[in-house]
């Protein structure tokens, strides 16, 4: 999916000056299947950026369009289609269901959208080292385990672009490397793009483009 940011300025960032290469208040295009790193310090709008793509906030100036269609014209069903088949998200606050087990957190997603068979999900959980937490409620898992579960959930559905907001912030280097390899493998399988926001420019993921906020 081709994403165009045409002089977007979110309301909370209206008062701040934006650099000439910033995503905000400039025109930026993310092509279909492109891998993009959004690198910025805290408070620069990384989460706002993710929420704009998910259609969770609409308080901005400028125009955002997906495949040449302006998002401000989108209906409820348009946004549902985007969330179900176009984008897959790893939100910064993970958005897991704390009372449901790992298995249920994954199934509640794949049952809606189709996708991974349960054996494959178990295999991936084992790869990321959370297979022992299969029946454990997400709410009592560690932040690192929850982060890996949220990555698994995002990978389990069909998508054209995966959007991840600081997905490795609670992972050690080893687990980060495992997660990145799984993400890259899945993106390759689906010929999908990737958008990663991060505080840490050393995140070892290969990208086509880096955008500043």
């Amino acid at each position: 999916m081709k994403i165009v940011f045409d002089h977007i300025v979110p309301e909370p960032l209206k008062e701040y000056p934006h650099a000439a290469d910033s995503l905000w208040n400039n025109k930026h295009v993310i092509e279909n299947g492109q891998k993009v790193l959004i690198n910025a310090a805290s408070g620069k709008g990384k989460t706002t950026f993710t929420h704009l793509l998910a259609g969770l906030r609409h308080d901005y100036q400028g125009e955002l369009s997906f495949d040449s269609a302006a998002t401000h014209t989108f209906s409820v069903s348009d946004w549902l289609e985007i969330r179900q088949t176009k984008f897959s998200f790893v939100f910064q606050d993970l958005q897991l269901f704390p009372t449901l087990s790992s298995e249920e957190n994954l199934l509640i997603n794949t049952r809606l959208k189709g996708g991974m068979p349960i054996e494959k999900l178990k295999e991936w959980a084992a790869y990321l080292g959370i297979e022992t937490k299969w029946n454990t409620p997400a709410g009592i898992m560690s932040m690192g385990q929850q982060q890996r579960l949220a990555i698994l959930r995002a990978l389990s559905q069909p998508f054209e672009t995966i959007v991840m907001d600081e997905p490795f912030s609670h992972l050690d280097e080893h687990n980060t490397r495992l997660a990145i390899s799984l993400i890259e493998e899945r993106c390759k399988e689906l010929s999908a793009g990737l958008i990663l926001t991060t505080l840490d420019p050393t995140d070892k993921i290969s990208v086509d483009k880096e955008i500043k906020l």
Binding site: A54, L56, V76, S77, L80, R83, Q84, F89, F91, Q95, L96, F97, T99, L100, E104, L107, I108, N109, R111, L112, K113, R153
Partner: protein, 393 residues
């Protein structure tokens, strides 16, 4: 899984109270609507007097009680009434000038005998289907129209004697004997009830019989005319009432026991119906309020479902399905309770001599789907609105 996510952790006490509220409200609503319908139709089917009929008499005062004023109608007065533009027809109600006794004439019912007072009116004041309203000295049976109060009284007698009471249908099949006597002799006639009326408190007989009996057994030919019957013109009862007040006349209808009873019971039931509607609305509001509470308790879960792509309508449907099942269970239980209440109220009324149709009324059946559809409609609107608010946040 969605059910587990959204409905597992809830305090069901409030849900239970709301469901009990809906159950009681719906029980009273169905019961009161059913009985309002049945009470209003009570006696309608067998009422033989036509529409727009009024029986008039002078207002009874202390002076008239002690014969200090005259309660009779003169020929001039009757003629004056006839000339009023809102009166289609007026006629003196003829009464008997001889003694009358009525008694049952069948082994199937217990012997019952009473003094009676008879009056007569023309066929044109009766309902169109009272076709057998005729008599001649050769007739085998005398058709009579019975005041409904008489059936209530008869049933009260039956009840106190421990005898099964009779319905309108049974009463019309009982053969009676009428004994008339005067200074010139006496006569026995077979009689049969052909219908009932709430309007007149005497036994009604055809005019031909009254003329025959008055001339043969009466003490004097022309009795005093204390009542007249009027057939008013359609839609002009307002003018008629004004005229009656000016002339010191009152409609006999207002004094009838069954009429008053129907009116009092109907009013009481109407009050219960209004209270029931308020109770149902309150309990539905409590149910919907609880749904909102559940939605706000699960605000995070609902928002997350929306974020991962669940449709707001699909989520709202889960909530309304859950509460529709709760409401449907309350409705079914209310219908069961209604049957018990219906049986008890019918038995109680029968002890007082009032036989209502015991069949399930159409209104009681219709209320169920209407209430359910209204609940689902309002609930769907409310749940969608709430979930959409979260979708747009």
């Amino acid at each position: 899984m969605l059910k587990k996510l959204l409905f597992r952790n809830q305090d069901k006490k409030q849900l239970g109270f709301a469901a009990i509220g809906a159950l009681l409200g719906m029980t009273f609503l169905i019961t009161s609507a059913h009985f309002l319908y049945r009470i209003n139709e009570f006696g309608e089917g067998s009422e033989v007097l036509g529409a727009n009929i009024l029986i008039l008499q002078r207002k009874v005062t202390s002076a008239s009680t002690f014969n200090l004023s005259n309660n009779d109608f003169t020929a001039e007065e009757i003629s004056e009434i006839q000339q009023q533009p809102f009166v289609e027809k007026v006629q003196a109600v003829k009464s008997n000038n001889f003694r009358v006794w009525l008694e049952t004439n069948s082994d199937l019912v217990p012997p019952f005998k009473t003094d009676a007072f008879i009056q007569s009116i023309d066929k044109e004041f009766l309902d169109a289907n009272a076709s057998n309203w005729a008599w001649s000295p050769e007739s085998k049976e005398l058709p009579i129209i019975m005041p409904r109060d008489f059936v209530v009284m008869l049933n009260t007698f039956m009840s106190s004697a421990g005898i099964p009471q009779i319905s309108d249908e049974v009463a019309t099949s009982i053969p009676f004997k009428l004994r008339i006597s005067g200074p010139k002799g006496e006569e026995w006639l077979n009689a049969r009830i052909i219908g009932f009326t709430n309007e007149i408190s005497a036994l009604l007989v055809p005019m031909e019989f009254m003329n025959y009996a008055n001339s043969k057994y009466g003490e004097n030919q022309d009795g005093k005319i204390t009542q007249v019957i009027i057939k008013g013109k359609e839609g002009q009862f307002g003018s008629l009432e004004k005229y009656l007040n000016e002339k010191g006349l009152e409609p006999k209808k207002a004094q009838m026991i069954v009429g008053r009873l129907k009116s009092i019971i109907s009013t009481l039931i109407l009050i219960v119906l209004v209270v029931s509607i308020v109770a149902v609305i309150s309990s539905v509001l409590v149910l919907l309020q609880y749904m909102h509470l559940l939605l706000s308790q699960n605000r995070y879960e609902v928002k997350t479902l929306l974020r991962i792509g669940y449709s707001p309508y699909y989520i709202a449907r889960h909530f309304i399905q859950y509460f529709s099942i709760v409401f449907a269970v309350s409705l079914i239980a209310a219908f069961g309770l209604f049957f018990i209440l219906k049986w008890w109220i019918n038995k109680t009324l029968q002890i007082g001599g009032i036989y209502l149709n015991e069949d399930l009324s159409i209104i009681a059946v219709i209320i169920l789907p209407i209430s359910f559809l209204l609940f689902v409609g309002v609930g769907t609107f409310s749940a969608r609105k709430n979930v959409m608010q979260l979708f747009n946040k």
